[in-house]
């Protein structure tokens, strides 16, 4: 085949590649390059500013929020997925739960912030009910806007995401394996600890990592809930974008964005690795 004959089909991919180059690659490269530039000159000032106590504390809160909501989401989502799978006879429940989970996992954002404001905010339905009927103040001094509240709010979309991601792995566990282990004399406990859990572990850990990345990259819900201060990295980036100078560094937003890329890339890399291990027996 001639050189031209080999090249022509690939040319048709150009519009797509050019589009991604302009709207995905250039922004990403801008962030990476911008993180190492200050006042038009190469500089490590922005990246070293990530070591500033404020930036570090923000990163710590972000990681804590992502890790806690990922852990809660993974465990509770895993339980919910299991509850759905063992009732495989009534598959209408399963269809309902997966459809709902599909919606709720997408339901992050501003709407979720208002959902929880309406429930346990200062004038929230539950707050008012407890105040009027039991004389209890469940609003406290606004814990909804601190780490515990944010973890609760994040669980609302993390648990459904876990259900979606983890269901296929649970489906991969064949009932025959349980029958086989029972036939060989295993107790229910032994089946779980020596067969099912080791098989599910990579999928479970992988899903947890995915949840972590999902929470770490989330912005809208907290942006709508928290208007004062910047408890997590995305909000610190917002502050950096809107007020130009942050911790004395103009380009700190770029450095923080780079930090986010690095964290998410590491987590997603591990996820891909675990996924490959799961895929071996899932098919």
């Amino acid at each position: 085949m001639s050189r031209r004959g080999r090249l022509t089909p690939s040319v048709a991919l150009l519009p797509f590649l050019v589009y991604l180059f302009v709207f995905l690659l250039i922004p990403t490269v801008t962030v990476v390059v911008g993180a190492f530039v200050e006042d038009g000159r190469p500089s490590l000032a922005n990246v070293s500013a990530l070591g500033d106590p404020v930036a570090l504390a923000t990163l710590r809160t972000s990681v804590a929020l992502s890790a806690a909501s990922a852990a809660i989401g993974a465990v509770l989502g895993g339980v919910l997925a299991y509850l759905v799978v063992i009732g495989s006879l009534d598959s209408s429940l399963r269809r309902l739960v997966t459809s709902l989970a599909g919606v709720l996992a997408q339901c992050g954002g501003v709407m979720l912030a208002f959902a929880f404001l309406a429930t346990i905010g200062n004038q929230g339905t539950l707050t008012v009910w407890f105040r009027d009927h039991l004389g209890l103040n469940i609003y406290g001094s606004g814990w909804l806007f601190d780490l515990p509240g944010l973890i609760l709010v994040y669980s609302y979309f993390q648990i459904p995401l876990m259900v979606i991601v983890f269901l296929p792995a649970l489906d991969g566990i064949r009932p025959q394996w349980r029958e086989a282990s029972v036939t060989l004399g295993a107790s229910g406990w032994q089946y779980w600890t020596q067969v099912a859990i080791p098989l599910l572990r990579p999928a479970f850990l992988g899903a947890t990592l995915l949840l972590f990345a999902n929470a770490f990259a989330a912005y809208a819900t907290v942006a709508a809930l928290v208007s004062q201060g910047s408890p997590i990295v995305p909000l610190l980036i917002r502050a950096g974008l809107s007020s130009e100078v942050l911790l004395g560094q103009k380009n700190l937003a770029f450095a923080l964005a780079l930090e986010m890329i690095v964290v998410v890339a590491i987590v997603m890399g591990l996820y891909a690795l675990l996924l490959r291990r799961t895929a071996r027996w899932l098919q």
């Binding site: 269809r95 997966t98 997408q106 501003v110 709407m111 942006a223």
Partner: protein, 260 residues
């Protein structure tokens, strides 16, 4: 093995607890948005959804954004994916990697690096919230890719294309009249999920200072929380309808593929 009564009761109790956690806030939103200041019920906040001019303009913007994003993302993605299947299969891994890349790069990061590109976009197209379409196409890429890819994997595209080609069809005809009708359900679910993502998008619009639906709902929250809550609940319900529509489409695909 039949589950014991205890475990069956436990299962129902746990499922009920999950239901309370997930439906509770939605009911609270309904209660909150219909609560009148003097006590009793009032639907004023819901009436605001159609009366408030700013919110209305933002809803129209978001719907237009959804429409444009669907058209542009499908126009870009579907022919490319089909072409890769048919003519350049060695680029399949690259295409998958590129399409799933936005999952790894948070939207926030794209916004931070987008200023230069958007200066050009506004220079050529004027300053309009509809310019957000270009970023949204990138954001929906992973979801659209998965839907279309699932449909494409379900058919034998090369054979179909060969048959059409041997009957004298050009590549354009092959793509538009042979392959696309066969992956129609996948294209449709890509469109559904795109609409859902665009209607719920806040990050990019708010950081680029454009007023889409979510941005205005958030702004309203400062002055008129009731209307914001009503709008949020309406948006969630709309997402329910859209994504349930998606699962209906997906369900019919499974049925047809089983039947064939």
């Amino acid at each position: 093995m039949t589950p014991s009564t205890t475990s069956r009761v436990l299962r129902v109790v746990l499922l009920a607890l999950f239901a309370v956690f997930f439906f509770g806030p939605l009911l609270a939103m309904l209660d909150f948005s219909t609560r009148a200041t003097a006590g009793g019920r009032s639907w004023a906040a819901w009436a605001n959804l159609v009366k408030d001019p700013e919110l209305n303009a933002a809803i129209v913007t978001s719907l237009l954004l959804a429409l444009f994003t669907v058209v542009l993302s499908l126009a870009l993605l579907v022919p490319t994916m089909i072409w890769v299947r048919l003519r350049v299969p060695q680029a399949g891994r690259l295409l998958e990697f590129l399409c799933l890349l936005p999952l790894t790069i948070p939207a926030l990061v794209i916004v931070v690096g987008l200023t230069t590109v958007y200066q050009w976009v506004t220079y050529f197209l004027g300053d309009s919230a509809l310019n957000l379409t270009f970023v949204y196409v990138v954001l929906v890429l992973p979801y659209a890719y998965r839907s279309v890819d699932a449909a494409l994997s379900g058919i034998d595209a090369p054979t179909l294309a060969e048959a059409a080609r041997s009957l004298g069809a050009g590549w354009f005809t092959v793509i538009t009249r042979v392959i696309v009708p066969n992956i129609w359900t996948g294209v449709l679910s890509a469109a559904f999920i795109t609409v859902a993502v665009v209607l719920g998008e806040f990050t990019v619009a708010s950081l680029l200072n454009y007023n889409n639906m979510q941005v205005v709902i958030n702004l309203l929250g400062k002055s008129d929380t009731n209307t914001s809550v009503a709008a949020s609940l309406a948006a969630i319900l709309l997402a329910f309808v859209l994504l349930l529509g998606l699962s209906v489409v997906g369900g019919s695909r499974r049925r047809t593929s089983k039947g064939s």
